[in-house]
């Protein structure tokens, strides 16, 4: 059962915490592998990132908070 817990957690965490940031990331200025795959609008945690991506993360967390009520 711990394996299911950890597996579900890893996939949830990747979807909520990383997927959004990766799709909006731009690694062109960093020497990272697969940097050509990441051509999003935000190079760093800039003001634009806080306006757009952070806003979506906050909304997602709010929905997560009340989601359990409906499930």
């Amino acid at each position: 059962m711990t394996k299911i817990t950890n597996g579900v957690f890893i996939s949830l965490f990747f979807n909520t915490g990383f997927l959004l940031i990766l799709t909006n990331a731009n690694f062109s200025q960093y020497h990272l592998p697969l940097k050509s795959w990441f051509n999003g609008p935000y190079v760093d945690y800039s003001t634009g990132w806080y306006v757009y991506v952070a806003n979506i993360i906050t909304q997602t967390m709010l929905i997560n908070a009340v989601f359990n009520t409906f499930y």
């Binding site: 059962m1 299911i4 817990t5 950890n6 760093d44 906050t58 009340v66 359990n68 009520t69």
Partner: protein
Amino acid sequence: MGMDILAWFFRRIDQRWAATEEEIRRTTKATQVAQYVAKHAGEPYIVHFKLSMVFNIVFVTMLYGMGIPLLFPIGVFAGFIFWALERYCVAYTYQAPPSLDDRLTKNAVSVLSKAPVFYMVNGFWMLTNTQIFNGYVAPISQQGEHMETGHTVASSLGTNQAAPLFLMSVAVFVIIILEAYFKEHLVKWGFALSSNEIEVDENLPDFYLAVKLSDADWLV
């Protein structure tokens, strides 16, 4: 909770919206016991799925909490909703959960202890942003081109607002590495506390048989 309301709705349809207690007990469309039990037993308690949702909220809050402090009150709010709803549902709507040992709890402690690492590492990177904290700007040759951030690990090190986080991150990484690779040897050589567990078997019956009625009232 929504599923419970739905289950209640289907139960009431099965009872043909009977009004009195007697009618409710006697009315059903089920022709077999298994059908009746399936309708009235409630949802199974999927504790592992609930735990992973709690982990997710804690980790996302820790990952972006330094840059988005609003996530902390949202995390507390989510925790309260989980606590209140699970308490109600375990008492009144779910099937009796299976007798679980302490492995899930120990796993939760182990997983949640890694969350501060995300807080410190990502918090360090957020706090050393050159544009927000130092007003750094670099010229661009064409409109639409991305401005050089000037944000590198080398430029972030030093005495600044993120230095405490950096020092803590290094300390935590050293502890994790020591624990992962050297703990066994340190215990063997006598440089660490032994982790011998004393197994106590009090010969108690199952939880639901062992718990006193007054304790059960308090739990509910």
